[in-house]
């Protein structure tokens, strides 16, 4: 019996011994249930379309749009200031370890990597017959456009940056020169111009995608960075632009919620509301599906007030310029946005005003017992409720979304309003600068007049002259053609996404000199007691007048990027 059991034991063991060998090969082949391989993913055209959609997606980031591009375009000009954690912008104190820098840098390269990967997948799926040629062309054009546009903002912000043009990279590419990057932008836009659809050909379901016109617009701007004003004019004068894009008749409609994707817009980042507009909505889910314009509204209305204006910008608008009220509002100013007025009747309609105008009259009543309908009053400017300094002036260009209430009322904080990166008025101003540069002052004046006439609702004054200096002094007419263009950039485009880029593009030192001319800046890094106007009460209210230092018109390469790519050389003065 023992022997019998022993034999069984041996047989069992041998069987057991062999089992792991027998299943070994397949035993080590496991299937990933989370994600799919390239071959398994791109089997239908819509999957390649989805891959390209993900490139656009990188711009649906409020950190990239607001804290990166918008902050650079506006805070460096001193037209606008930050309230909150990022006040280092206000005196050019950004260091290489500033936390928002990698948001910009990293997001930009994620978009570029997605574009590079998409170009390879498009080529592969086109070759495999999965993607029809027409669609493949459009998608390729979109990938080139988005890559080029991203390099445009990278080089505009940092100067030369590394050029990553292939999906496979170790990420150790050194910086190219600024010119090389803008040459790459031109190259990408050239390809995009050939591959994209005209806005007239774009299906209604594809509105928001890159178009031929947008490619010409960015190509022209890139040519200007390269000093190739003739080439820029060729791009700007392409019929695709001159025929299919127009200024909206009324400046107030620029940036209106009801005028998204208008005839004036070349390219705007699309947003929409999906679900809640409060903290538990799109913001909570990555901040990709909602926008945050009300963060810049007065804290008295929104509960935020994270950015605010320089009174000097308000004073600079020439008499009769309708753009002022649609751009910056101060004590006693009402809102002119048709959308806001239609929805709320103006400021007086917001719940926080209705709820508090009797109990807190200094803040929320008009001084006569009625709900306030202005951005504070001359007696009680809206400096904010929390004691941190604000000027009492706010961005009315970004106070357009009637669905928002701020952190009051329904707590509709996040909206779905698109953000315009490039519009036709800027093309006209760009053209004017090119014409100045190439000696065609007459042409330049004509293009300026087109923009200015709209700003005056008909005919602009023949003489260009600011109303007052920042400290309430009389001004002189602006007669130098280039200075005229720069002044128009400021009054037309401030609080959007391009002003500082356009000023820096004009040449070394131009921006610093221009800002100093407008604001009388000094080396002081402290906020000043404002000398003029309703807020001149002998106290500080968050206005700095620091001269833009040498080399600080571009930002430092983030330390996190240098740490992971030692081939990157930091910008001077950082």
């Amino acid at each position: 019996m023992k022997r019998y059991i022993k034999i069984i034991g041996i047989l069992l063991f041998v069987a057991a011994l062999s089992a792991p060998f027998a299943c070994k090969k397949s035993f080590l082949q496991q299937t990933d249930t989370f994600a799919a391989t390239e071959a398994a993913t791109f089997t239908k055209p819509q999957q390649v379309v989805a891959l390209v959609n993900a490139i656009y997606n990188t711009y649906q980031s409020s950190d990239l749009m607001k804290k990166s591009i918008w902050y650079y375009a506006n805070f460096l000009t001193h037209d606008w200031y930050n309230n909150g954690n990022d006040i280092v912008w206000n005196y050019y104190g950004i260091g290489a370890d500033f936390y928002a820098l990698p948001v910009f840098w990293d997001n930009a390269y994620i978009g570029i990597a997605r574009a590079n990967a998409a170009l390879e997948v498009i080529a592969q799926t086109r070759a495999n017959g999965i993607l029809p040629d027409a669609l493949a062309n459009r998608l390729e054009g979109e990938a080139y456009f988005l890559r080029g546009m991203t390099y445009y903002y990278l080089a505009g912000t940092w100067g030369g940056v590394p050029l990553e043009l292939k999906a496979e990279t170790n990420g150790l590419t050194p910086r190219s020169t600024q010119d090389s990057v803008f040459m790459q932008v031109v190259a990408d836009m050239h390809l995009a111009e050939q591959l994209l659809l005209s806005k007239t050909q774009l299906a209604a379901t594809d509105i928001g995608r890159a178009t031929t016109g947008a490619a010409y617009g960015f190509e022209g701007a890139a040519q200007m960075w390269l000093g190739k004003y003739d080439s820029a004019l060729i791009a700007f004068n392409n019929p695709e632009l001159t025929t299919n894009y127009h200024l909206l008749p009324n400046f107030v409609d620029v940036g209106e919620y009801a005028d998204q994707n208008s005839d004036e817009s070349l390219f705007e980042v699309q947003f929409n509301v999906y679900g809640s507009q409060s903290w538990d909505g799109g913001w909570n889910d990555g901040g990709e599906e909602a926008w945050i314009d009300d963060f810049g509204w007065p804290q008295e209305i929104s509960g935020f007030g994270y950015d605010y204006g320089n009174p000097g910008l308000w004073y600079s608008y020439q008499g009769g310029d309708l753009r002022r009220a649609c751009t910056i509002g101060g004590p006693g100013d009402t809102l002119t946005s048709p959308g806001i007025i239609a929805q709320w009747g103006g400021i007086k309609g917001y719940a926080v005003v209705q709820a508090n105008y009797q109990t807190t009259p200094n803040t929320y009543s008009d001084g006569h017992g009625n709900p306030i309908n202005s951005i504070g009053t001359a007696t009680y400017p809206w400096y904010g409720l929390d004691g941190t300094p604000r000027s009492g002036y706010y961005d009315t260009k970004k106070w357009r979304d009637p669905t928002l209430t701020g952190a009051n009322g329904t707590s509709a904080i996040f909206g779905g309003q698109n953000q315009i990166l490039l519009r036709y008025a800027e093309i006209l101003l760009d053209k004017a600068e090119c014409e100045v540069r190439t000696g065609d002052v007459t042409g330049a004046m004509a293009d300026l007049a087109t923009v200015r006439n709209r700003a005056w609702g008909g005919t602009a004054p023949a003489v260009m002259q600011d109303s007052l200096t920042w400290n309430g002094q009389p001004t002189q007419p602006i007669t130098d053609p280039l200075q005229m263009v720069l002044s128009e950039y400021r009054h037309e485009l401030t609080a959007e996404y391009s002003l500082m880029y356009d000023l820096r593009r004009a040449g070394p030192g131009v921006a610093s000199t221009f800002i100093q001319g407008e604001y009388g800046t000094t080396s002081s890094t402290n906020q000043i007691v404002y000398p003029y106007g309703p807020t001149a009460d002998g106290k500080t209210h968050g206005v700095w007048m620091t001269t833009l230092p040498l080399n600080k018109d571009i930002l430092p390469i983030p330390v996190s990027a240098i740490a992971l790519n030692p081939n990157l050389i930091q910008n001077p003065s950082y």
Binding site: F34, N85, Y92, Y109, R114, D285, P389
Partner: protein
Amino acid sequence: MTHLRNLFPPAFLLLFVLSLLCCTNAVFGQSRLITGKVVANENDSTLPGTTVSVKGKKINTVSGRDGAFSLSVPPNSVLVFSSIGYVSQEIPVNNNSTFSVRLVSNQLGLQQVVVIGYGTTKRKDLTGAVSSVSADQIEKFPVTTLEQAMQGRAAGVQVTQNDASPGGNINVLIRGTGSLANNGNVPLYVIDGYPLETGGINNINPNDIATLDILKDASATAIYGIRAANGVVIITTKKGRKGGVQVTLDGYDAFQSRPKEYKILNAFQFGTLANQVAAASNGNFQSFSAWANPSALHNVDWQNGLYRPGLSQNYNMAIRGGSDKVQEATSIGYYNQKGIVQGAYFKRLTFSTNLDYQPAKWLRSSTSLKYSRQDQNVPFGSNGSNNLLALSELPPTMDSGNAATTQIYDGHGNYGFFNPIYTYVAKYSNPLFSINTNRYQNLNNFFLLSSSLEVTLYDGLRIKTNAGITYSGYNGYYFSPEDDRLVNQYGAAAGATQNASYSQSINSNFDWLWENTLSYDHTFGKHTINFVAGVTAQKNQYNSMAGSGIPPNNTIMDLAQSTAVVFTTGQNGQTISSLASEFGRLNYNYDERYFITGTLRRDGSSKFDEGHQYGVFPSGAVKWHAKNESFLKNVYWLDDLSFRGSYGLVGNSQTIAPFQYLALYAAGTGPNVAPSYGYTFGEPKTFAPGIYSTQPANPDLKWETDYQTDIGMDAAFLQGTLRLTGDWFNRRSKDFLLTIPASPQTGYSFLTENVGSMVNKGVELAIAYNHTVSSGFTWGANFTLTTVYNRLLSITSGTTQLPNFGNPLTTIPGDGWNPFSITKPGQPVGEFYGYKSLGIFQSQSQIDALNATAVAKGFAAYQKTITQPGDRYFADVNGDGTVNATDEIALGSPLPKFFTGLNLDATYGAWDFNAYFYGSYGNKIFNFAESSLESFQNRNFVGVENISVNYLNNAWTPENHSNTFARVTSNDDAIGSNVASSAYVEDGSYLKLKNLTVGYTFPGRLADRASLARLRIYVSTQNLFTITKYKGLDPEIGYQGGNATQNGVDNGTYPSSRFYTVGLNVAFK
């Protein structure tokens, strides 16, 4: 069964025994027959064959199978008990007639059985570097995890408690840091033969452990191949003994004192400071109107309100016994710790059964079953990355907050809150409100079952099949009720009502193992061979599901009021990994003088691409047992001497998740579910889905390889009472696997790569001394010392240095404090990194002079354009004229030059004594807590926070020109004084008395009266004192988040405090 009625609760039992003690007044005669029983101290198993002799006489006997003995002795005799592998013991007879003798194992005794992979050997035959810890040592003082049991007892093993939270994480490093990956340095734990792939070892009750054998060099670990690079800890749990049944009861209650507290400002000091800072801020900061009169403020002591005395209770009951054929050991344990922070607790129920059955001499089966259920809550987080520091930083007043109370809690349902309008405090919340009103659950279940069948085919030739499963499951939820208190009082200006929220997650990890081995042991003449070979397969499957959302009715205050939570986000997943391996080991020795061991393992892992799945891990070792040479045999003062040497390769693949080698794409989620990766197009706007690349392909990915060299020696003196083991090791880790922050230019945040090489080399020394003094007095000392020299040798991914990965230290702001460590070639891993502080700027002229130079060189300023006297002065290390990121330098290493443990044991009659010291020398600590308490600003945010009294009293002012503390400001982010710098790097060396225990074992006759084989009571204290220069609360600081690049940062983690323990060990007859 009659004995079971004695299973009283410990307190009653103790009273019972003490009453027996009090009423006993025996009278004893002159000459007689004595009887007794000898058992092993570590597991109460009987010790047959123990020689019992009368000192100085030729009177002796040998204990029987059940350990019992009887002997006729003359008056005034002294009995000598000696047994192989145990420390001899002398006991005077006096008037006693029965003896219950416990012999202590000689830990490093040559006959000690050491468990190695897939077999055992005797220490005298061991060729590799193996440290052992016995149950006897573990039971010296109360521990709740086996990591604590290892601390300081095994040379080469560095054990650091990351924080003192209940059930908190403990870091174990065997021979240094070989990997930079998160949890990449965790040893392989093998429980009763099962290599653990899931579930932490804190599921194992230390009371169930018979031995811990720690395999350190490649010769010892190579049998575990691709999982062995960080060493292997083999845990053998207690088994039943032959010849009887023994029931034991062990329990203790430990009272934990309140922790040390940071000395911070009270409301008056804080309000006064806020007003002063506001006055000097040029309008940048405006103090709160409610603080205008600081003397009227109501003080809130957050530390006092949230800290409390702790209490730990630990009870274990075991029944162990058996016959010749069947041995069984069953135990049940319960541990309950109420933490020293409100809401913190850890509860663990453990169950263990071992069953051994030998129906015939040639057939044997063993089954091990372990179950554990854990319930844990640590409100402020654990694992070294909690934010308890934030408690001390909360403003010490909530005036003008809740109208109902200005205090943390008024006892009537009202919790204070901060004013929601004043921005500088609006973000803060009352943590006790959250702790008491939120609902949460964190349950873990762990199950291990393994069973083996072994057949002896022929003398020495055995086959064995072993199969088992482990399962660990987590089930947790978190519910936060709606909070409308602020809105109700302050209206819309306070923001929106905080919605109720709910999240739930479950995950499970199932693992199975099947392995078959063939072994052969034979001695022929002077030749002895031992051979084992086998095949093994192991598969692990992890599943998880999680969801979060809000209850449909947002007005509910309690989860019980809603049965239909709407989940707005969710995630799930599954990963499977498998391992198929073959292995073999051959030991040969000649005449017990010359030993040689060869080991080979071939592992196949599913984590790698085809062509890279299989790795071969060979090792070899030699040993010369010099004492057995003829020229040393008669050297009387030398009881043992041997020399060892080994070299081998082992691997590490535990650090990466499966499928890291594949290029993968994923579809984004819907429009309002992150991450969407889609976009909005069209009129009307319509969401269009997106697809994105989650990772690029890396088909060359492979395991980490460790090349380990070990040279060691073992020696014994003084009849074996003094033993010395020394090892020199050199561990070179190559191709370490890392999911590394990628250059942003790649478009990926992280990439998994084989990125470099690292070396750890050092010396381990273990000295054990046991001495039996006459009159029943024995004492011993066990000393370990380890040095580890760690350097990164290269990074192969192209970058030159690696910052700390991520920033899980939740209170460390990114601005100016990240990175805080840099690892680069030639330097130790996780070396601190930042600016070199030169003190404090004392005058404007000093700043102006430096600025002038900076401007001349094209910079705006030397440091900042806003720098003022009183700001911290940093060194321009590279001499370019300005201080910027390129001036950051290495500031010191968190790695100690050496760490050491010293155990002192003594028994005197019925009394026993243990003192255990643990120390670390030469390590630095980055005192982020100090930095935080030197910042009036809530850095990286708008807000003010509390500071230390020391800082307030010593900060730079125009009147007090401190060169150590910067001026107090409301905007440290902008000024930049309070960034990672040498100002916060301190010497972290310490020597801590971890334990002090005094025990009393009642004499046999008293135990007899209670039908007890043993009754011991003890009192113990832990963390009684620490000798250190470190200025923080506790210098014992380990990894944060299991990450070697975030080591030694004092983030004000869950504090440790003293335990005062009363315990009882009872063994029933």
